[in-house]
């Protein structure tokens, strides 16, 4: 029997489905099928917002649910539990949540085939409405309030003893929408005019000169200039890679882990006459890069290959510059992908640290003497960033750290760290390494 229409098209039920896709099957929230099945665009926006909110505040919401439930729900009732979390999130963070919202949420239990839970959800949410103030002040005393898993919170506190609180707060805020102007095809003044007349408010970035912030955030399809390739979506922190690489005509540059191709495109937009080699390990991700370049009217030779297996793709000619946008924990972009907090494990970070070290060691011989390698991660963890580069310098005698003469980020011994929220950016790490003779 097909799932009933009223169930499939219910935004709260879709949100529960999306939570299950992310938390039970490790899917990225952006790929949720349950959300994409919603036909009404307002329902979709509501469900998406609610799902992001629950993933942002998961451990805090679970703490609240635990206080309010007289006894824990059975494992097979985790759909009811998630319904409770949705209701709590809405009451806590959505100022307009009313009695109608409580009623609608509770009634969803019936659609889940668990009519016995309607009364329970209703009573629990009403109690939260009444006791919100005292429960929330109690929650503030508990580590669950930070809404980070214990290992990650401890690591952020260890790595950033001065700033960890700001990092945690920034991770739990919604990220703004930043665009990058395609200098090859866009007339900036005209584009700004079009964006403004479409009702967007614009602001510039202090450091990334091609960045424009548009608010309110909207789907890319609704942003004038996107389809024709005059704009891309990209955080200003990611746009700084271009400044450090400073590409010049006819330079031979390797972009070793290029997908989804944002930094690749930015290099070509500022200097189309590059001898650029674009790699990514996964074929379907190479396709994504190609689509992005096509949309932007740019061209580069892309190859699906593991950068470390040089026999498969390298012709033996060394590079002037290498961009190593290394695979990482993505702990710098939690504000955009809150599910990262709950899916990532410390052990996975160990594995990715190992891969980063292999990439540094494996790509270094491909660089010309005097050339630079720009090492980038969207991580805020010391072991992937400053520590990683420190260890590389110990292993490698002809590598030197170049001082990054910029005003953004926090100076480290081997690079600069941008923490999430700094001038409204994602968390990124940059190091510039020069090959000495």
């Amino acid at each position: 029997m097909r799932r009933q229409k009223k169930v499939l098209q219910n935004p709260r039920i879709a949100a529960i489905g999306a939570l299950s896709e992310v938390l039970d099957t490790n899917k990225s929230l952006a790929d949720s099928e349950a959300l994409s099945r919603l036909r009404d665009s307002r329902d979709k926006a509501f469900a998406k917002n609610l799902t992001y909110g629950v993933l942002r505040w998961l451990s805090a919401l679970e703490w609240l649910a635990k206080q309010l439930l007289t006894r824990p729900l059975r494992k097979r009732d985790r759909d009811v539990k998630r319904l409770v979390l949705l209701g709590l999130q809405q009451i806590w963070h959505d100022q307009t949540a009313s009695h109608a919202a409580v009623y609608e949420t509770a009634e969803c239990a019936r659609l889940l085939g668990k009519a016995w839970a309607v009364g329970l959800v209703n009573a629990l949410l009403r109690r939260f409405q009444r006791e919100q103030d005292s429960l929330l002040s109690e929650l503030e005393q508990d580590p669950a309030w930070h809404a980070h898993p214990p290992w990650l919170l401890a690591e952020i506190q260890k790595d950033w003893p001065q700033n960890w609180m700001e990092v945690v707060i920034a991770n739990n805020l919604q990220a703004p929408l930043w665009l990058r102007i395609n200098r090859q095809s866009a007339d900036e003044a005209l584009l700004r005019e079009e964006l403004q007349s479409a009702g967007f408010e614009l602001s510039d970035h202090e450091f990334a000169r091609d960045a424009i912030r548009v608010s309110p955030a909207a789907a890319v399809g609704k942003i004038p200039g996107f389809e024709e390739g005059r704009l891309s979506v990209q955080d200003p922190a990611a746009q700084l890679a271009r400044d450090l690489l400073n590409p010049q005509p006819f330079e031979r540059i390797l972009d070793a882990c290029a997908a989804p191709g944002g930094k690749t495109a930015h290099l070509l937009e500022s200097c189309p006459e590059l001898d650029l080699t674009v790699l990514d390990k996964q074929a379907e991700r190479i396709e994504q890069i190609q689509q992005n370049l096509d949309r932007l009217g740019l061209a580069a030779a892309t190859t699906a290959a593991d950068a470390l297996l040089t026999d498969e793709w390298w012709n033996g000619k060394k590079f002037d510059k290498i961009l190593l946008d290394a695979p990482c924990s993505a702990t710098g972009v939690i504000r955009r992908h809150p599910e990262i907090k709950w899916l990532r494990t410390s052990r996975q970070v160990d594995a990715v640290v190992e891969t980063q070290a292999q990439l540094l060691d494996g790509l270094w011989p491909l660089l010309k003497t005097g050339g630079i390698l720009v090492y980038v991660t969207c991580s805020i963890l010391e072991r992937e960033n400053n520590r990683q580069v420190q260890l590389f310098l110990k292993r490698c005698i002809d590598a030197e750290v170049e001082v990054i003469a910029q005003d953004w980020g926090i100076a480290q011994t081997c690079g600069r760290q941008i923490l999430p929220g700094e001038t409204n950016m994602d968390g990124f790490f940059y190091a510039v390494l020069r090959k000495s003779s």
Binding site: M1, R2, S20
Partner: protein, 176 residues
């Protein structure tokens, strides 16, 4: 695990009356896993073996939103039914069509689990609708059979139109 193809109305094979499951072996276990995967990806809340062109008395259900309550019924049989409900039904073998059908509100079902052990269970509300819908499949009956001939013809025409449009889309895609 593998996703299986679902037969679609008016495929005559959907009218087959399924026969009793006799061996509770590895083949049955694989079929159950494949049927669950097929049901989840549809997305459905119930699937009878008949729908995947296996004519044995076997059905799977899961009305949860997060695939947390899969249930398997081998050789299911309704022992008794009570009450009445009127519920909107849709079927994976009749894509895009929903219609209200009158069913018993509560049923007591006897069945075997995947290892052959007998059990009895009372099902209510949506669970009851779903198992009655699936047992109908095993008897070669579809929910559209409960509709008036006029309505059933409308369903048939609507499906034909849907298929035509889909075929045209595919053709256009090929030309591009």
């Amino acid at each position: 695990m593998a996703k299986l193809d679902i037969l679609e109305f008016p495929d005559p094979r959907l009218k087959t009356v399924a026969s009793e499951v006799k061996s509770f072996d590895i083949h049955l276990k694989t079929l159950i896993e494949d049927m669950l995967e097929t049901m989840y990806s549809a997305p459905g809340i119930g699937l009878a073996a008949t729908q995947v062109n296996v004519h044995e008395r076997l059905l799977v259900l899961d009305i949860s939103e997060d695939q947390s309550c899969p249930r398997v019924y081998v050789n299911p049989e309704v022992l008794s039914e009570s009450g009445e409900q009127d519920c909107e039904e849709g079927c994976l073998s009749v894509p895009g069509i929903y219609a209200r059908v009158k069913r018993a509100e509560s049923v007591i079902v006897k069945a075997q689990d995947p290892t052959g052990i007998f059990f009895e269970e009372q099902l209510e509300n949506l669970h009851a609708v779903c198992i009655q819908h699936e047992i109908d499949h095993l008897n070669g009956r579809l929910f559209v059979d409960y509709l008036s001939p006029l309505k059933r013809n409308m369903v048939r025409r609507k499906l034909e139109k849907q298929r035509k449009v889909a075929a045209q889309d595919a053709e256009e895609h090929r030309l591009i």
